[in-house]
């Protein structure tokens, strides 16, 4: 039982928290702009690498470098929107999707160019895990889970208590009606990018801390993030966060040796879980658990 918690549930929660941060941003962007943002994964990798750069340059920890990561992902997201997505706003969703694919390739190329293809890790001191009654958990995992929970809570406050957050929800309900009501839609779109880019920078640094940094790290979790957003009901940020946690837990627990010491699913096939969840959701509950927009 302890083995299940230590080696499967805790890593599942950590991975789930990272998926949740990324999926929440995807879901917000889809809600406000009706657009599947394919560059989200590479924006995440960019955040992680900027944090790596800052932490090497200034000799600070990866945690302290998070603001630097966000300080780059936010303007990059705003620039991608201003340069590419804004002029395609009235085109078909597939056109926007493809343009974001282009942005994804550009971001990844820049990362390859500056940091090279070799996987690297954040400089991290070796610290003993926290142990309590046989329960072992790495300190960085505690921080990742707490950090994600705190971000989700702050996002909840923004969406439910602030005027700008209400405008975001209104626009995701009905963009035309929001416009008639006097909502400056361009401003709401910019705010959405700022929030999504901060969340994805956090996700990138967390993912880098949990495993390692490589240029395709974000692209590798993009599918799982979309699966989480769709599982939760796309356009519903809380649903996406919940979907992310479920998916992270499912991926890790799928390798648990439940029967005769052999893992249920070979770890190599772990990422197939996201595919399976995505397909099952689309087949049986396409609107997602929390009644999303498709």
């Amino acid at each position: 039982m302890l083995q299940l918690v230590n080696f499967y549930v805790v890593p599942g929660l950590v991975l789930g928290a990272i998926y949740a941060l990324s999926a929440t941003g995807l879901s917000l962007i889809y809600g406000v702009m009706r657009f599947a943002h394919f560059a989200h994964g590479d924006l995440m990798a960019l955040g992680a690498y900027v944090a790596l750069g800052a932490s090497t340059a200034f000799g600070i920890s990866a945690w302290a470098a998070i603001p630097f990561a966000a300080a780059v992902t936010v303007p990059v997201a705003l620039a991608a929107d201003a340069l590419f997505y804004a002029r395609l706003r009235r085109s078909l969703p597939a056109v926007l999707l493809i343009s974001s694919f282009g942005v994804a390739l550009m971001l990844r190329a820049v990362i390859y160019l500056i940091f090279g293809p070799t996987p690297v890790t954040f400089p991290r001191p070796i610290v003993p895990p926290l142990v309590w009654e046989g329960l072992r958990i790495q300190r960085r995992h505690v921080w990742i889970i707490l950090g994600s929970a705190l971000s989700a809570f702050v996002l909840h406050l923004i969406l439910s208590r602030t005027r700008a957050g209400r405008a975001m929800r209104a626009m995701s309900d009905d963009p035309d009606l929001a416009r008639i009501t006097g909502v400056p839609t361009a401003g709401v779109i910019r705010l959405t990018w700022v929030i999504a880019a901060v969340l994805v920078a956090l996700a990138g640094v967390f993912l880098g801390l949990d495993t390692q940094l490589q240029p395709v790290m974000g692209f590798n979790v993009l599918l799982a993030s979309f699966a989480a957003a769709i599982l939760g009901g796309i356009g519903r940020p809380w649903g996406a966060a919940f979907g992310g946690l479920i998916l992270g837990l499912a991926e890790e627990c799928a390798t648990y040796p439940l029967l005769a010491g052999a893992p249920l699913l070979e770890p190599t096939y772990k990422s197939a879980v996201a595919f399976a969840v995505l397909i099952a959701t689309l087949l049986f509950r396409p609107q997602g658990l929390f009644r999303g927009m498709i």
């Binding site: 995701s172 309900d173 035309d176 008639i180 009501t181 006097g182």
Partner: protein, 234 residues
């Protein structure tokens, strides 16, 4: 000069024009009702005034200023409110949040606007915390009208406010419309439910195929046998 003056309006969707030169006047404190067969261009006319439909030519003046082609989000601040026929509330927002959205451009007016809304539609008081998507059609229409009134507009445009409502709700909506006009707000209303709507209209406008067919006080239109036979179903 009327509060809203539409002259020779031509416009529609994509390459297809629906309106072929429509004239319309609406004044403060007046109920103006636009009737006509399906496809006559009634809703398109409102959307064009609201800036949601392409205008090819013609003038739209509101309070003396040209607004043809102005961005929809700027019209609220000029005092022009619009309630679309369908999808006229934010379903995932509560009734109170919907009202707050109505005062989005001037948050300071929220409290006072909410009091006025509840005075006009007392039934909403018990529903303030309910998501608007869970309300009945009639209640939704009330929320939509109340939301549009939050900033005390000079003119409110209602696109078929009684569509799909029970007769009881219809007469309630028409009674509220008269109250709104008595407060000095102009009401421009498109109605499928032509007879009861024209009965309260200071000005009735009959559209046919994107053109004006007749304009007269509502009761006069109702009394006209030709109009009755051609446009009001006998």
């Amino acid at each position: 000069m009327a509060l809203l003056e539409v002259r020779g309006l031509v416009g529609g969707y994509g390459e297809t024009d629906i309106l072929h030169g429509v004239d319309l006047d609406a004044d403060a404190g007046e109920v103006v009702v636009v009737v006509g067969a399906n496809g006559a261009g009634k809703s398109t006319l409102m959307k064009a005034v609201a800036g949601l439909v392409r205008i090819r030519s013609g003038r739209v003046r509101f309070a003396g200023e040209e607004i043809a082609g102005a961005a929809s989000e700027t019209l609220v601040l000029r005092g022009l409110a619009y309630v679309p026929q369908e999808r006229n509330v934010f379903p995932s927002l509560t009734v109170e949040e919907n009202l707050a959205m109505g005062a989005y451009a001037r948050p300071a007016m929220f409290r006072e606007g909410k009091d006025r809304a509840l005075a006009l539609f007392p039934d909403l008081a018990a529903k303030l915390a309910t998501p608007a998507g869970r309300l009945s059609g009639g209640q939704r229409q009330m929320v939509a009208i109340a939301r549009a009134l939050m900033l005390q507009p000079r003119l409110i445009m209602l696109d078929e406010p009684t569509a799909g409502l029970s007769p009881k709700f219809c007469s309630a909506i028409f009674a509220r419309v008269q109250e709104i006009a008595r407060d000095g707000i102009g009401v421009l209303m498109v109605e499928q439910n032509a007879r009861p709507a024209l009965a309260i209209a200071d000005r009735g406008v009959v559209l046919a195929q994107g053109r004006n067919r007749a304009t007269a006080p509502g009761p006069a239109l109702l009394a006209d046998p030709d109009i009755g036979r051609l446009f009001l179903g006998g």
